[in-house]
């Protein structure tokens, strides 16, 4: 017995040692060669799915953009719309009924992988999928509600030409209509279940056909896991095809041997530059780990590097020999939101005073490591056409803030060091509950700085960290006094309705309660103004309005922090997310 248990322990012990040794030996043998042309891109987490209609995460969108293409795309270099599947940008006419007609023609070269041509019918099928009730794209459906009908061309017959009939005039109609990732019916609806329904039916009487068994069967299949992540069910007209997805680890897509886009002669643009034979999206959750992996040569492209790490990359020899850092400005801005409908903030002088208490330049220097640009409004300084350069940002000026507060009636009447004012018959101290999402240290630092400056003029700021979903909930229900937020833009024309229109107070994103009839009218007219010059002038007026009213204290437009391996000598970075076009990278022989 003793011998047995003793031996068991000994055997187990040596087994453990042996297995560790094995692991070490293994470690020496598993370095392998890779094709220098391959690009390995870092992602912080897996995308939610690779279904081009139902996906929600931004990372999914970037990956899908190499496998699926739409009629139009936004050129990374110019931020202008350029044709991909379409021959050229569409012809847009206003109709007498107050709507629009958008006419496209698909390129003659365009074919699916099996050689069949891409036609107007494919676009129609895609639109039907988007509009199909029960398909899990509730967020996406409203973008296409404006298209009521499609017209085809029988005489003379042209299967590649079609027209969208829209009910309203809207500045985002062109980009929305051109943005849909065209799907092949053979793959997504092999039984032709949607064949019986028309676009008009799906638009106007969606609620009546919801329970139709064909709709139910199609939606169930389309929403299922196989169309999210299985080979054979992920295929589009783009230059790359799906290879594999190892959950939580990586997604691999590879260049098609024969892609129709290579034969295109006219109107080529960045979407036709696809040199990398393989693109690998490597998921590494932790930033620090990812940086080490970058230096070790396990990844070639990393974006979203933290500012602090980014400025310290200079110290690493390994990084400097192999990588180039880039910091293009991003299409986003951060702001401090003020609940303008609270009595204490209803006077715009108070809000202006608060704006004078934020030392934005110091924040950029000390907290954001210089990796941000100041902005005066929701339109970013990089948008040369529409950014209002006549407005100079609010200066950091405690004296001026004090003066404005006094004018607004805030005085320290009881001598307790905090400003007060009679509101609704009660003497109220000037306190501000300032919330941010817990765990965001940069925001916390900014608010602490503000707290200190506010204290000097007699405002007491309570810093409140809130769990993310509660933080969002409170904004939506207007249960906040001030909060630190940010918005991400797309390169499309600015529509301010969602954020600044009074109609968006209940249910929209006008959390701060900004707005008056004239701002609403301006927002509404910007939405339908198709002339770019006139729209720019109106946008400038809108910025001046926000500047005066200060519903937000506009802070900064951050810079993206990107590292790209030096062997890709033609790499460029752009403002548009994700900031690079990795499939266009060419590896030079030298590395």
């Amino acid at each position: 017995m003793y011998n047995n248990s003793m031996r068991a322990v000994k055997i187990a012990g040596s087994a453990a040692i042996l297995s560790m040794t094995c692991l070490f030996i293994a470690s020496c043998s598993s370095k392998k060669e890779k094709d220098p042309g391959e690009v390995i891109v870092h992602n912080l987490s897996d995308p939610d799915m690779l279904n081009p209609i139902n996906y929600q995460s931004a990372d999914a969108g970037y990956i899908l953009s190499h496998m699926y293409i739409g009629l139009l795309g936004i050129d990374f270099r110019t931020l202008q719309l350029v044709p991909i599947l379409a021959e050229s940008r569409p012809v847009i006419e206003k109709t007498p009924e107050g709507g629009m007609k958008i006419t496209y023609r698909i390129r003659d070269e365009a074919t699916w992988d099996d050689g069949s041509p891409i036609t107007a019918k494919d676009v129609e099928f895609t639109l039907k999928v988007i509009k199909c009730p029960k398909v899990d794209n509730q967020n996406n459906k409203p973008y296409y509600e404006f298209i009521r009908k499609m017209l085809f061309y029988e005489d003379p017959k042209d299967t590649r030409k079609f027209t969208f009939l829209c009910k309203d005039v809207y500045i985002l109609a062109e980009i929305s209509s051109g943005d849909l990732s065209v799907l092949q019916r053979k793959i997504y609806d092999p039984k032709n279940l949607l064949g019986d329904f028309s676009i008009e039916q799906l638009t106007d009487s969606a609620s009546q056909i919801t329970e139709n068994p064909k709709i139910t069967e199609f939606a169930k299949d389309f929403n299922s896991e196989k169309y999210q992540r299985e080979k054979g069910f992920i295929a589009g007209a783009g230059a790359y095809e799906f290879v594999e997805w190892q959950t939580g680890q990586k997604i691999v897509i590879k260049r098609k041997d024969k892609w129709w886009g290579d034969n295109v002669k006219n109107n080529r643009n960045i979407y036709f530059e696809n040199h990398a034979p393989k693109l690998i999206y490597q998921t590494i959750n932790d930033q620090t780990t990812a940086l080490v992996a970058l230096k070790a040569g396990n990844i070639d492209v990393m974006h979203g590097i933290k500012s602090k790490d980014f400025v310290e990359l200079d110290k690493s020899e390994k990084f400097k020999t192999n990588f180039n850092p880039y910091s293009p400005p991003m299409l986003a801005y951060s702001y401090l939101g003020i609940n303008t409908r609270l009595p204490k903030f209803s006077d715009k002088k108070v809000r202006q005073a608060l704006a004078h208490l934020v030392d934005v330049d110091k924040i950029i220097q000390k907290i954001q490591y210089g990796l941000a640009v100041r902005t005066v409004g929701p339109i970013l300084p990089s948008d040369k056409k529409e950014y209002n350069t006549d407005l100079s940002p609010y200066t950091f000026d405690t004296e001026l803030a004090k003066k404005l507060l006094t004018e607004a009636g805030w005085k320290d009447s009881n001598g307790d060091g905090v400003l007060d004012k009679m509101i609704d018959g009660k003497l109220e101290n000037f306190t501000i509950d300032f919330s941010y999402n817990a765990g965001n240290d940069e925001r916390k630092a900014v608010i602490l700085m503000f707290q200190e400056e506010a204290r000097k003029v007699g405002i007491q700021v309570n810093v409140m960290a809130q769990e993310w979903s509660k933080y969002l909930d409170n904004q939506k229900n207007h249960k906040f006094e001030m909060f630190y937020g940010s918005w991400i833009h797309s390169p499309s024309p600015s529509d301010h309705k969602q954020i600044f229109h009074t109609e968006s107070y209940n249910g929209g994103s006008n959390y701060v309660g900004f707005g008056n009839p004239s701002s609403d009218a301006l927002i509404d007219s910007i939405r339908v103004e198709l002339d770019e010059e006139r729209r720019a002038a109106m946008n400038k007026r809108f910025q001046a309005m926000l500047y005066e009213e200060v519903p937000y204290i506009f802070m900064t437009c951050p810079k993206e922090k990107i590292a790209i391996h030096k062997r890709f000598t033609n790499a460029e970075v752009y403002e548009m997310r994700p900031g690079y076009w990795e499939s266009g990278f060419k590896a030079s022989e030298k590395y």
Binding site: A16, M49, E225, G248, S316, P517
Partner: protein
């Protein structure tokens, strides 16, 4: 013994039921609405005039699709003023206001009539054609109507109603809507008139039958259908299976390793108590124990994974070979990737386990029968491993009970830092996103495994220590 095991297994059923109920109730009361979360992952800016209707429609249809519009449980226990159909009001704020009104006035019939009139009023405002001359009034009215739906205070309601009446009387464009406003006003007065607040003192038990959220969930669970993950819309079983494979692999290896190392170390240091080697191992193990794994993990990665220092180990993941690579090659590749995470996962348990072992042996080794054995001339090794070791295993077995849930729960920190797609990561992400199907399923499995663990530990007690017996008579 068999009878005992059977009895224990039977007790599992009510225990699991209680746990499932508790999980369910707690999660439903947590702040945050999963439907809101799903709809707002990306906020579209496209709403046209029908925007309000559309988003409410999307909310209701999604809620219906997920079955979240059903009553929560088989029955509810409340007072007689509350209607049995309150769960049908989907918006939480509206429901809260109505409940408060029921508490105050007790006459649900009039209250619901009032609610409907206010909703009609709210909707009717959205049909008014937009025109800059009335824009401000329209907007104010909309805000008032919306806040009316969330107000239960009498004074506030009256103020809002009179404000609306003031606006309506001064705006000819709203003339056609006056009927809605009057209806709201008169139905509100109706509530005051028919006040029957005594009803809230009458308790009432309300039965909902089998079509409720809890029933649907538990029945599906028993049938092995765990639902669809809210975040990525994949079946929960598939999500969990993808993750649990890795977690099980790593945690079983880690448990094995920690026992293999800790037991001999613990026994050794007990036997050599007070010597220099005992002190050195104790100090060493406690130093390891006190270093947080997230820090060690980051340090190891920074120094040994090809950053600016040594390139000995991979920094992340589980190996990059495709599924069709030879098994042996995949095995070595995976093990190579596992070395660092496994170490970080395991080292803290060395100190704890070996201290437990050491304590157990020390307890036993001073006892009479050990002295007797020594006096008989039994060799020291045999004394330790045969006589002392077996009897000192009890504390280790107690801890063994926790191993089962540990095997699937994973470690969020280690998984996060080394990018291992395991259970810890999934659990935390699901909790943050209010992804109930995943949270429920994991809780249930953890509960089942804990129960099994304690049962196994009890059986092991009997196996190790003859003095412990479950058959009722002494051996």
């Amino acid at each position: 013994m068999l009878k005992y095991i059977l009895k224990r297994v039977l007790i599992f059923v009510p225990t699991l039921f209680a746990i499932s109920l508790l999980t369910f109730i707690i999660s439903l009361n947590a702040p945050g609405d999963p439907v809101d979360m799903m709809l707002n992952q990306s906020n579209s800016g496209q709403g046209q005039s029908a925007q309000k209707l559309a988003t409410e429609k999307a909310y209701i249809s999604l809620k219906h699709k997920l079955g979240l519009d059903l009553p929560i449980f088989y029955f509810s226990f409340s007072n007689a003023s509350l209607p049995d159909t309150m769960y049908r009001i989907v918006k939480a704020q509206h429901r809260y206001a109505l409940e408060r009104m029921c508490d105050e006035y007790g006459n649900w019939e009039s209250i619901s009539a009032y609610y409907l009139t206010v909703r009609n009023l709210d909707m009717s405002l959205y049909s008014v054609p937009k025109d800059s001359s009335i824009a401000l009034d329209l907007q104010r009215s909309k805000d008032f109507a919306a806040s009316l739906l969330e107000t239960y205070d009498q004074l506030k309601t009256n103020v809002i109603l009179s404000n609306l009446e003031y606006i309506f009387s001064n705006t000819p464009a709203f003339a056609s809507l006056n009927v809605y406003l009057q209806a709201a006003r008169s139905s509100y007065e109706e509530i005051q008139k028919n006040k029957s607040s005594y009803r809230k003192y009458i308790p009432r038990l309300q039965f909902y039958g089998f079509n409720n959220q809890y029933h649907n969930w538990i029945v599906n669970f028993i049938h092995g259908d765990f639902g669809i993950s809210y975040q990525d819309k994949r079946p929960v079983a598939s999500v969990i299976w993808d993750a649990v494979r890795w977690t099980m692999l790593i945690s079983s290896l880690s448990i094995l390793l920690s026992y293999i190392v800790s037991i001999p170390v613990g026994v050794k240091s007990a036997v050599k108590k007070g010597t220099r080697s005992d002190r050195v191992t104790t100090t060493g193990l406690f130093m390891l124990y006190s270093m947080p794994p997230f820090w060690i993990a980051t340090m190891l990665i920074m120094f040994f994974c090809g950053g600016d220092y040594f390139d000995w180990f991979p920094a992340f993941g589980l190996g990059t070979l495709p599924d069709d690579a030879p098994l042996m090659q995949r095995l070595t590749d995976t093990s190579y990737h596992l070395i660092l995470p496994l170490f970080c996962w395991t080292y803290t348990s060395f100190a704890f386990l070996s201290r437990q072992m050491r304590g157990g042996v020390l307890n036993v080794i001073g006892q009479d029968y050990i002295r007797t054995a020594r006096a008989k001339g039994v060799p020291e090794k045999q004394v330790v491993w045969r006589h002392a070791f077996r009897n000192s295993l009890l504390p280790i077995i107690t801890m063994f009970a926790n191993i089962f849930p540990l095997v699937i729960s994973g470690s969020f920190i280690i998984e996060w830092i080394f990018s291992i797609p395991g259970m810890g990561k999934i659990t935390l992400e699901a909790l943050i996103a209010r992804n109930y199907p995943i949270v429920f399923t994991e809780m249930m499995f953890a509960a089942i495994l804990t129960l099994i663990g304690t049962l196994v530990a009890d059986i092991l007690y009997a196996a190790v220590d003859p003095r412990i017996s479950f058959s009722g008579k002494s051996v």
